[in-house]
Symmetry: C2
Subunit: 434 residues, 2 copies
């Protein structure tokens, strides 16, 4: 029998329903995996082994109340937890013990899920990395800012984790670590108790080892039961998939370019309506608008840390804040107006397509731990507020994961998840565990 820690949430939940697995057994299995691998991967800021085992015993003495009952979840350390310290990835908050849970954490617990621990975040979910390594090759970055969440799920320490995205912080680490990463439509998942960076962009997202699993947690946390996927939910239509290389195509390395083109062909061969499309170049200014909006808002969101604890901020963040403080309100207003214009424009594009297939990152995870890689392939889609999902699609020559991204129009999460489920089934790109 496969060890429980290797299974998906959906598989685990079925086993529990069938009485083949207890939550205690599952938590023990995951904790063993953590013991075996954490020294190498460093995905966790804090693991609450005792708390998780106690919660599991409680679950095992109750009837299951739903698919997340007794399932362990990793929580990015920028979500508050009433029973575990929360550092927001910064030494300013060493030992900080919030008084309450973030809304998503409380909702997960209400659904019977068990918080296994807090996963490493970059500093305030910006660019300065934490200690986490890429589980596929420890010399490579796991990406960021949801570094620990993506690595912990990739390395099978936990089947499910919470992340957040302001530029590319869910999609990028998921792609680098070879897991499914999902950033829902803006505004669909409650952000209470999540350390803010950019109020008009910050979005809670999910990391798991299958599309069905991210659909499951999304449907439960957003209160959208209709978004839950079944085994056959993707099979009912011919998906219309626009293939968009984006103007940054030249910055993608050869093997990632080849994989991207191969993926498009495979989807066409499998019956999708696939066509190359080019976005109006006006959209590409959206990346600059994302920078301006994000920086203008971050300078204010981090006002306390910036004014009282500058000595504990990284040089990377101080440089960013210096740029951010110089952003004018005129530029910010222009960027927000441009974002609105782009959102109206992309809605017209999506009249012809269920999803766009776009690059997730420019290649496999770069070597080195000093930088979490470039979010350039995510910024526009985050700005547009629509759903985005990354799916593992292959391996690089060096054995690191490669991935593609599907993006949809705002409010079409149901449809995008179903399309992604179909794409996943075609790519049959299952995470090969170590």
């Amino acid at each position: 029998m496969v060890s429980p820690y290797r299974l998906t949430v959906t598989e685990l939940s079925h086993m529990m329903d069938d009485g083949l697995l207890t939550s205690s057994q599952l938590i023990e299995s995951c904790l063993q995996r953590v013991s075996a691998r954490e020294d190498a991967v460093q995905a966790w800021q804090h693991v609450d082994a005792d708390g998780a085992l106690e919660a599991a015993r409680k679950c095992d003495n109750e009837p299951r109340i739903g698919p997340l009952h007794g399932i362990p979840v990793g929580v990015k350390d920028i979500f508050d937890t009433f029973d575990m310290p929360t550092t927001y990835g910064s030494p300013i908050y060493d030992g900080n013990q919030p008084k309450g849970d973030a809304a998503c954490v409380a909702l997960l617990r209400e659904l019977g899920a068990i918080i296994l621990g807090k996963t490493v975040s970059t500093e305030f979910a910006t660019r300065y990395p934490g200690k986490t390594r890429n589980p596929w090759n420890l010399d490579h970055t796991p990406g960021g800012s949801s570094s620990g969440s993506a690595a912990a799920v990739a390395d099978c320490m936990v089947p499910l984790a919470l992340g957040t995205q302001t530029a590319g912080s869910v999609i990028r680490p998921s792609a680098y670590c070879g897991v499914v990463g999902y950033k829902p439509s803006f505004g669909y998942v409650n952000r209470t108790g999540v350390k803010p960076l950019s109020d008009s962009l910050d979005t809670v997202g999910f990391h798991a080892r299958s599309v069905v699993d991210v659909g499951l947690i999304f449907s439960l946390l957003s209160g959208r039961p209709e978004s839950a996927l079944t085994a056959s939910s993707a099979n009912n239509r011919v998906w219309r998939i626009g293939v968009c290389r984006t103007p940054m195509w030249d910055s993608i390395d050869d093997e990632a370019q080849t994989l991207f083109e191969m993926t498009a062909s495979r989807l066409a061969n499998a019956g999708a309506q696939v066509e190359q499309i080019e976005l109006d170049p006006a959209f590409m200014a959206g990346m600059a608008s994302q920078d301006i909006i994000s920086e203008f808002e971050t300078w204010r969101s981090l006002a306390y840390e910036r004014t009282r604890h500058a000595d504990k901020l990284s040089g990377t963040l101080i440089d960013r804040l210096r740029r951010a403080g110089a952003r004018s309100v005129a530029d910010y207003n222009k960027a927000r107006a441009h974002a609105e214009e782009c959102r109206r424009g992309i809605a017209i594009v999506f009249e012809s397509w269920d999803a766009l297939l776009v690059p997730a990152v420019s290649g496999a995870a770069p070597i080195g731990l000093g930088d979490t890689g470039d979010p350039v392939f995510c910024k526009l889609w985050t700005l547009l507020h629509g759903p985005a999902i990354t799916i593992p699609a292959g391996k690089s020559d060096r054995g690191l994961p490669l991935a593609v991204q599907l993006v949809g129009n705002i409010h079409t999460d149901n449809s995008l998840l179903r399309c992604a489920q179909w794409v996943e089934s075609i790519l049959a790109a299952r995470l090969k565990t170590h």
Copy 2:
């Protein structure tokens, strides 16, 4: 000489610039007023007299860095403060000491402002009242949820205070207490460190004793220097003011109806282009949409408190959460779509008007402290995301303040503030201190 505690921020700042007043003298004056009046009014959750005096001495030893330098501010107790407990108006958070400041608080301190203390909020800024009384008549409600902020400013314990509005929580208490209350366009003022209720509606707002003062703090906190008002900024045009009784006109009492009509006449006589308008009845469904959106989101935002500390929630809030938990995502999606439609629709209305004159509340503050009054005249405007400002406009037979409200299209804060400054000058409704 008038005691410093009675003056506006603008007056105080000029005196400080001219060397006629020190911050220490001002803080002492305000603290004396608090000592004299707090037993009756109960506006404060926590007063930091020592901290404020120490900050004032520091200010007095530095060159003034701007108009808020050395000025005391009251902060609604749903904003985190690193040096004062923050209860969010709930016994669940008795003694809660946040690790950091809310962004607005940190920005105020960066501008040299002095946090005098935390003002009473209703329970999580919902409807269950705190201890505060209306300073004009202690048997009457001050309104809510920013009860302490409005009462403290009205009673001259502090010249300026922070509030928040999700339905009518800045406008209503300001109107009942006879101060200027300003809710800016949605998204203009950073919400980091403010306890969330409804992510798509919550807005930081301001209470002061003049339009110029709310314009000042708004311009500084939102990074919009162009929104600061001068003595003459309102005089450059003929204001186009649509007078909208709203379909709830019949629920307004006689003296408030009379005052509203008189105000419209006065503005017309003073040279504004004034016309009665009727809103399309479709807008009125916006109040129901505000309820649905606010409740759907609040049920999730308060997930921790609801699931772990239900025994410490008021019966009022428990009832509301019961309704909220029954809101379906289908109704929520419909309400959000309706809100978008109304926002597009109101933009067309505002092509003809700089501002609409609308009721702020249905009359003077009701007697009794068990209820904070009805936000029915604010819900639609909060939903529409535009700026709203209330201005004292007279007194009821019983000597309680009466007020009107001006609302503008989203992003027209500059223009609405200038229009409000002109209206204020016409009404010449100065707060008569006790």
